[in-house]
Symmetry: C2
Subunit: 426 residues, 2 copies
Amino acid sequence: MVRDTGRIDRQRCIELDRADPLAPLRAHFTMIKGLIYLDGNSLGPLPSATPARVQEAMTVEWGRDLIGSWNIHDWMQLPGRIGNKIARLVGAGENELIVADSTSVNLFKVLTAAVQIVRRDTPDRTEIVSERLNFPTDLYIAESVALANGLTLRLVDIDPEEGVDAVLDDATAVVLFTHVDYRTGRMHDMSSVTRSAHAAGALMVWDLAHSAGAVPVDLAAAEADFAVGCGYKYLNGGPGAPAFVWVNPRHLAEPQPLRGWLGHVSPFEFTPEYRPAVGILGYQCGTPPILSMVALDCGVDTVLAADEYGGMDALRAKSLALTSMLIELLEPVSAAHGLRVVTPSEPSVRGSQVSFAAPEGAYSIVQALIARGVVGDFRMPDIARFGCVPLYTRFVDIWDAVEHIRAVLDSGEWREPRFAARSAVT
Amino acid sequence: MVRDTGRIDRQRCIELDRADPLAPLRAHFTMIKGLIYLDGNSLGPLPSATPARVQEAMTVEWGRDLIGSWNIHDWMQLPGRIGNKIARLVGAGENELIVADSTSVNLFKVLTAAVQIVRRDTPDRTEIVSERLNFPTDLYIAESVALANGLTLRLVDIDPEEGVDAVLDDATAVVLFTHVDYRTGRMHDMSSVTRSAHAAGALMVWDLAHSAGAVPVDLAAAEADFAVGCGYKYLNGGPGAPAFVWVNPRHLAEPQPLRGWLGHVSPFEFTPEYRPAVGILGYQCGTPPILSMVALDCGVDTVLAADEYGGMDALRAKSLALTSMLIELLEPVSAAHGLRVVTPSEPSVRGSQVSFAAPEGAYSIVQALIARGVVGDFRMPDIARFGCVPLYTRFVDIWDAVEHIRAVLDSGEWREPRFAARSAVT
């Protein structure tokens, strides 16, 4: 049933896995036997090192050394230390990126700073521009910032022919895009979009939620202005892991709007006057959740462990091999069942996931797959989404997942009442 | 050397501990043998239940059940479930209080909402009023909110004779006080101050960082408007534990300014339009750090464990016995060495800590005590601070701590170079 079975079959996938130079990285994770986990783009799996490390943070650092651990175990510097690790994955310099708060809260900080910078010189720029199909929290926060600053949030649909330039003008203050679309996995050209924003006189804010650790990112080369990203997806930091924020050094003089004590240049002077810390440290606000920070540190290390196997370039090559295979194998299934693969077939504009739209029953299809031990996820209104993470996803997983997808569709088992849409949480 | 040794001595303290009905609660914590930990007002100690519970959250929930845990283990409801537990400690109703973000970020939410409410009807009210010696993050965030809304932050010193009324007027929009002062341990009369704020036509925001789990609080009886508080002090939630936020139901219709996806009425509809969740759920913003949340849950349970021993009333009675004894024992030491106990001797206005000012060498005194295994902390400019937490602090700890304080001062060992002031972090 698979097209061109002479070229690709299960045995060939097993051989690809045997020959995969990145294969040893899978041992860095606690993978569940018999489960094909293709949802690392929503919640990365548990790294093998995390439980012992968090246990140590609890019993030795917190339990034994107590308050002294802020110094002894350098909890104070943890957000910056992890930030510097993430920086290497996204083309940021030393001390330009820090871990803090959530993606949403960090977006509030950078969007506000960006708006303030632009409006100082060009107060007639009144719009934050984002994509209608951007991840909702980006839009909600952008609306918060727009409201608080007397601006408007303008939502656009980018016509692939006309590009981004067509939607920007001299009313644009700030452009907020997510680099890799959470539904389709389509990836923007970061340099090109940033150039368009700058050409229009606007600043560019990137959300790297589906990029950091997933695809090569070079914020410096793109000359981006601000970026935020997520710790619990491709960085494997654990549920609700703290997020990160990057600011181009040229904008660091601009204060961010959430002036908490940990963003102060000298928090333990306890002075009533706020003086921001130098550089990215000023983007901290309150006290960071150390246990979740420690888990994030372990997660980031799983990505950096790829360094000795070729790093992000090697990860990207395998990611594209995985997603290309998944798209190719899905094609005949799609043809037979009226599905539509919505992830670009062109590799240069593809993130590290593959999604299909099922006009009927996407939620139920995903549920039926989960019952079979293939974990993807559903996204409104009709998207079934499958993350392919080269750190731990195998070619044979892709093969088997497609076999299950085919079986679920051929048999019609997804129509069983037990798979019917409920209040979908994940 | 101790005044009235016939009435109080070490043996008497041991007897008080033997007779203490709350003594079994100490077993809920991992206490370090030989260490007298009087810094639970900065970082509560590790509850015995926490390591296994967080381990389970890592290996079973995250590791095995992966993304499904948002439903299976109800991570989605965790902030509200813990919030309802904390609500019982601060006189809040069901579904009025939620765990989210940091104290600083929550302050930004409630201060902004409060300002918006007041300014809608009385736009001529242009001031947020707080105490000059309030914890700095409160002042920094209040200044952020003032700046963002065209208001002024006015810092006041309350004259005990004249009271709060004297500093409020028809320019006051919002009053932000911390219930228990972090330096002196002086406690405001919540009802009285709130009445003054309301009488002046302002709204009242309380910071409960040093109150929740430490002293009886009744937000409803005080008719307060908003409150925030900290998870890592008397709630024993672990370093940087998530914070909490309470909103009087009469103000819940007012949107808060950080519109993240988890504050949406239906986050998984992924609609571009923000519609706030009903009630306090709308005060969530981004995805919560689950591992730190789970630890906080265990911490809050250690306070609720006092319920079977008389609850907060019993905790308060022991707290006052501990702090009264500490003040009494410190008096002759103070007299001999020029210290000044700055914590009120009047129990009704005292929190759960005792502090003394040492015009010379407070930092070094605290360091010398730490070297002797007595952990308090230093606060600028001259405060040595000792938290007395009835869940685990014993009367004999107070006795021994004072003996060490006396020894450090009598011997002058605090003048040794190894105790000299460095960059003080905690």
